[in-house]
């Protein structure tokens, strides 16, 4: 009897969590999906976003994701490889790990301020996708390092021994055996990073700005979808367009998640 009660309780807790997720998706979709037309996606905002579409904010978001990942991926994956394959546990690795944990704990508004003071002002990059991308990449590093490290550690040690015993160097072992097996975990980190770039607002307002023009290079300022949504809703400019943007935000995160996991699984099937 007790078993049943506990089971029912646990089930309802799980159901509640999932329920909230579906409610949010449902709510945003009901309000936002009707706004989404091809024109909404392909035309630039007009009159501060009261009419027109969100094309420039989509482009800005994609640029931002690109720059952030181009910086954070090599740094994060490289750091994780160093921590797991090239050092033994020592005081130094503990300090590095502690440092990345602290980095993860910094509130995004503070990161935004830092990005503004350092990249925008001190380095003179101005409000630009480059400033924002570099600030974002600092925020993505802890997640990418952590997920990559975990997935590298999960690769059986025997595989490395086999590779070494065949006279294969450590670097070749890492690239040919360890990283392919760890790929799903690495992809997870990157997907989380992309989602973070899509959803972040505080950092972006400080570093990329909120200009509505279509960014032409990484040195231009711009407005990402999340910031656009925030300004539209916050300043009551246009609720329908805000919901339309929100729906695109949520759908794109869903799409990225699903396709990344699908690709990772296909890849695993191929090598196993």
């Amino acid at each position: 009897m007790l078993q049943r009660i506990v089971k029912a309780q646990l089930w309802s807790l799980t159901g509640f969590t999932i329920g909230i997720l579906f409610f949010i998706i449902f709510f945003i979709s009901i309000k936002g999906l009707p706004q989404i037309t091809l024109e909404f996606l392909t035309s630039n905002p007009v009159d501060m976003g009261r009419s027109g579409g969100i094309f420039s904010t989509i482009v800005c978001t994609l640029y931002l994701i690109f720059v952030s990942l181009m910086i954070a991926m090599p740094l994060g994956v490289g750091a994780a490889i160093y921590l797991t394959e090239y050092t033994r546990e020592s005081r130094l690795t503990h300090i590095i790990r502690f440092g990345t944990e602290c980095l993860a704990g910094i509130p995004s508004i503070i990161m935004g301020l830092f990005g503004f003071a350092f990249f925008v002002m001190a380095l003179g990059l101005g409000w630009s996708i480059l400033s924002g991308g570099m600030t974002m990449s600092i925020m993505l590093l802890p997640t990418i390092i952590r997920t990559t490290e975990e997935s590298i550690k999960a690769v059986p040690y025997e595989l490395r021994e086999v590779s070494f015993s065949l006279g294969v160097t450590r670097w070749q072992t890492v690239t040919k055996v360890v990283l392919p097996s760890a790929l799903p975990g690495i992809v997870t980190g990157i997907v989380l990073g992309i989602a973070r770039c899509i959803e972040e607002t505080a950092v972006i307002i400080f570093t990329v700005g909120s200009s509505l023009r279509l960014p032409e290079s990484f040195f231009d300022s711009g407005r990402t979808m999340a910031v656009h949504f925030y300004i539209l809703a916050r300043e009551g400019i246009s609720m329908p367009n805000a919901y339309g943007t929100a729906a695109i935000l949520i759908l794109s995160i869903l799409f990225i998640n699903l396709s990344a996991y699908y690709l990772a699984r296909q890849f695993l099937k191929k090598i196993c």
């Binding site: 025997e158 086999v162 065949l166 006279g167 294969v168």
Partner: protein, 251 residues
């Protein structure tokens, strides 16, 4: 017969614990040396010194010398990757790489610079034939190696080592956990291999050592108790501990 590997006063400690003390040993070329002894006697450690896989363990201390064809393989600055190409190893657990059968075998040679597809194919076929696995897998070389049975996987591992065209093959309890038929096949493989390879076999199975080896080293608590021809050791062991071990009174 010529000596392929000569071990001189080899001691090995790990975290200040002695694992091997002053071992002197010789491995004859083109023969099978069996290393037997109870658990924790240092068999695996000795094997892993021969291809310097012991380098992976932190806080170790090695003293003494190990010569492969007259060259001290413990000297600093030795090219370990080249040594491991010459001295192959098969582990107690079959560990196929998460790749196809073909790619498992081609992995090592390719990274050692053999790019020619024809040459790789020949190498794969020859190695699989030597390991007596060719007939079972020739039609599915592109299938995942994970799908093979345990015994097949272990023969795949032997073939993978052979594909490197090594001079010495180290085997660490290669039939551990395998069924009798797979075990028999692997023992037959070893017999046919010893004509052109020097083999060192660590085994807990005393009868396997008696059946397959030419010479035997008996290790006990990190010391070499007795070393001699298999026939001698199994008929007239000099040391009482060897006698006790092979007649199953301890170990």
């Amino acid at each position: 017969m010529a000596a392929k590997i000569v071990v001189k006063d080899l001691s090995f400690s790990y975290n200040h614990q002695r694992v091997l003390s002053a071992v002197n040993l010789m491995v004859e070329a083109d023969s099978i040396l069996g290393i037997m002894g109870p658990a924790k006697s240092g068999k695996t450690t000795l094997l892993r010194i021969f291809n310097r896989l012991c380098d992976l363990i932190p806080h170790v201390r090695i003293e003494g010398e190990v010569f492969l064809d007259g060259e001290n393989i413990l000297r600093p600055g030795l090219n370990v990757d080249r040594l491991r190409k010459r001295v192959g190893m098969v582990f107690d657990k079959p560990v196929p790489l998460p790749r196809s059968i073909f790619e498992n075998l081609a992995y090592g040679p390719r990274l050692h610079g053999i790019k020619d597809k024809k040459r790789l194919e020949e190498l794969v076929e020859r190695s699989l034939r030597l390991a007596q696995l060719w007939d079972e897998v020739k039609d599915r070389l592109n299938e995942s190696a994970m799908k093979l049975s345990g015994g097949q996987q272990q023969r795949l591992c032997i073939a993978r080592t052979l594909a490197m065209e090594p001079e010495v093959i180290l085997l660490d309890e290669p039939t551990y956990g395998l069924d009798p038929i797979s075990t028999l096949k692997i023992e037959q493989t070893l017999q046919s291999l010893k004509e052109s390879y020097t083999i060192v076999l660590v085994s807990n199975n005393t009868w396997q050592v008696a059946r397959t080896t030419d010479n035997v080293a008996f290790l006990f608590m990190g010391e070499l108790i007795e070393y001699g021809s298999t026939h001698e050791i199994f008929t007239v062991p000099k040391d009482k501990r060897t006698d006790d071990y092979i007649s199953g009174r301890f170990g």
